[in-house]
Symmetry: C2
């Protein structure tokens, strides 16, 4: 089957670029002495998780217990859930423990204690990392607070829990205004974790793992000593935001949406891919990036966007594209490709993605872990 | 089963409010002499489409042929696809024609001609409405242009097509800055269609249907003579945007997301529902509405938001909620409810919704037409 045989909109994955992205990140991690544990939320595909592990990853991350179960059932043996899973999900976590090596994060003493009680009752042990807030201000303890020291000591002492180490996610890297700012965020993340680890080791607590995350900061994190693991996810596909943050070139981007022009009016064309395929996620980047994706007017070949086309608005099933004067002529029925702002959410919107080698569709793969919000 | 037995995040539908919303809109349409043809994209549930038809709707709208097929297979007999379906979807449209009464829209003469050729070859007739742009500037022909007259004449003359009438969608109503502006948009929509219909009738073209759409403008459209049909969709659930546009009160909103507090830090709480459940769609309304939904700190009862809680940011699996000083104490493990900005996209994100009567879960229903983008 060829790309031209697909009904649109269709999410197309360039299998060669995926393999190259996986290889490059693994090579970089290996060279720096970091274990690589990719976040599988980007692809949600057991086949790609297996490919990452075959290339050297120590395991994967999943966002929620139900997402983890999809990968556990598909044979992935080591799954970290870098999420403050609440003990109301104890049945799901115990089911995972009984099947694979699983770890979660905690950022609260009461919840850590509750998990210890659950595990004591269940006769299991839960691997736990303490989540450290390195500036994103989502979850995590302040690394220089007595609360952090207390929580780490508590987790390392509680029966039923195995304290594995410290974990952070520099999600604020997505909002960095420059390469320099991003570099600094990565540096601060490593410093916060290594200092906290040193402090706790000095107090007699063994801190085995120091795990940092996020694709934008990955290239800078690798320059530092201290972390034992990195957890980028998006790098497997990349997207317009990663290009905007200098983490990828357009030639690295592996996921695109093949779409048909369904209407044309003065100054605009309308595509059959809207927010139900592309999402309304905005783009991030050092330079302001407007719109809901970058359009390439060719149905195949490289994904370099043509700036004469600007995806100004989305409805659920329409992209409204402003066409500049002098742009190449695109007609109703023509097929174009959109590089989405955020590839992870595109994976979550569609039931199937099409793995392609050039213009050949190698396989249409169900997105096995789509929609696993529990 | 009770709401408290659900794993979170969970999309909960108040069945009583749905019934009331369906009844009220039908009563208003009946009183004004409009046929009601709800857009099913909001709920994507055959059971609710049947409920709408049982209460008096003449049929439904669907966004794409694949969405229509779900409802056709579920026994809905009259389906309009107010989308400029491209002839590359001819097999799907023919399959629908062979099963139900189906209609689509066109806004282009070449595409109308192409559809006529498809139908001639296939020995079928396709019901077609001409899409008129009443100011949203997405699809549709300019109602005062010679192009509009030409297209309508063409469609009414082409063998293989049955010209059914004119159709518009005042999507720009969602951006109205005031009740007065919204009223004016609805008035202009009706005027544009009725004038164009009069012009075409004067030229000897029969214009059977005049179909207007959108929930925000519905209450104003009904005050006018001329249209034969209205196609609101969102009214079945409503959402924060509709409350912001005066189309609903919080007591009318039937869809909410039950969510658990999974982390708490100074000035903020974190919920287990992120953009994978709520979407990153912003809110619309006459007054600026910030954030990604409105939070009600009670797991049951009415949905009135507590403004001490502001959903400032979403990650895919987290909502980061700013908590004002003096807000009621919400602890980790507590359950809260979020009224989303946009209910249609929430339906498209989850595999299942939970129909509730008060705190009792009456039925957990698969979202049969979720993700039907083709």
């Amino acid at each position: 089957m060829q790309l031209s045989d697909l009904q649109t909109p269709a999410v197309v994955i360039d299998a060669g670029r995926v393999a190259r992205n996986i290889d490059r990140m693994q090579r970089a991690a290996d060279a720096a002495g970091f274990r690589l544990r990719p976040h599988a939320k980007t692809h949600k595909l057991p086949a790609l998780a297996r490919q990452q592990i075959a290339r050297g990853a120590v395991g994967i991350c999943c966002a929620k217990p139900s997402e983890a179960m999809v990968f556990a059932e598909a044979g992935i043996e080591d799954i970290r859930i870098p999420y403050p899973v609440h003990p109301s999900k104890q049945q799901q976590i115990i089911a995972l423990i009984d099947r694979v090596r699983v770890s979660i994060i905690v950022d609260n003493a009461e919840i850590a204690t509750a998990w210890a009680e659950v595990m004591a009752r269940a006769g299991r042990t839960l691997n736990v990392l303490v989540k450290v807030d390195v500036g994103f201000h989502r979850c995590g303890v302040d690394p220089v607070s007595p609360e952090a020291h207390h929580l780490i000591s508590l987790v390392s002492a509680l029966p039923g829990l195995k304290f594995c180490g410290l974990l952070s996610h520099a999600g604020h890297g997505y909002h960095a205004a420059s390469e320099t700012a991003l570099k600094l965020i990565a540096e601060e993340e490593v410093n916060a974790l290594t200092r906290l680890a040193a402090h706790m080791r000095h107090r007699g607590v063994e801190v085995e793992e120091i795990s940092v995350g996020a694709t934008p900061t990955a290239r800078f994190s690798l320059r530092h000593k201290g972390p034992t693991e990195m957890r980028p996810g998006n790098y497997v596909y990349f997207d317009r935001t990663q290009a905007g943050l200098g983490a990828a070139t357009f030639d690295d981007c592996a996921l695109s949406v093949l779409s048909t022009v369904v209407a044309k009016h003065p100054g605009r064309i309308i595509l059959d891919a809207g927010s139900k395929t592309l999402s309304n996620d905005g783009a991030r980047g050092f330079l302001p990036l407007e719109g809901y994706g970058a359009l390439s007017p060719s149905p195949s070949g490289d994904l370099r966007p043509d700036e004469a086309f600007s995806i100004e608005r989305l409805s659920e099933e329409h992209a409204i594209v402003r066409v500049a004067d002098g742009a190449s002529d695109v007609k109703i029925g023509d097929r174009v490709r959109v590089l989405p702002n955020h590839s992870c959410v595109v994976s979550n919107l569609v039931d199937v993605v099409h793995m392609a080698d050039g213009d050949t569709v190698v396989e249409s793969v169900p997105v096995a872990a789509r929609g696993r919000i529990l």
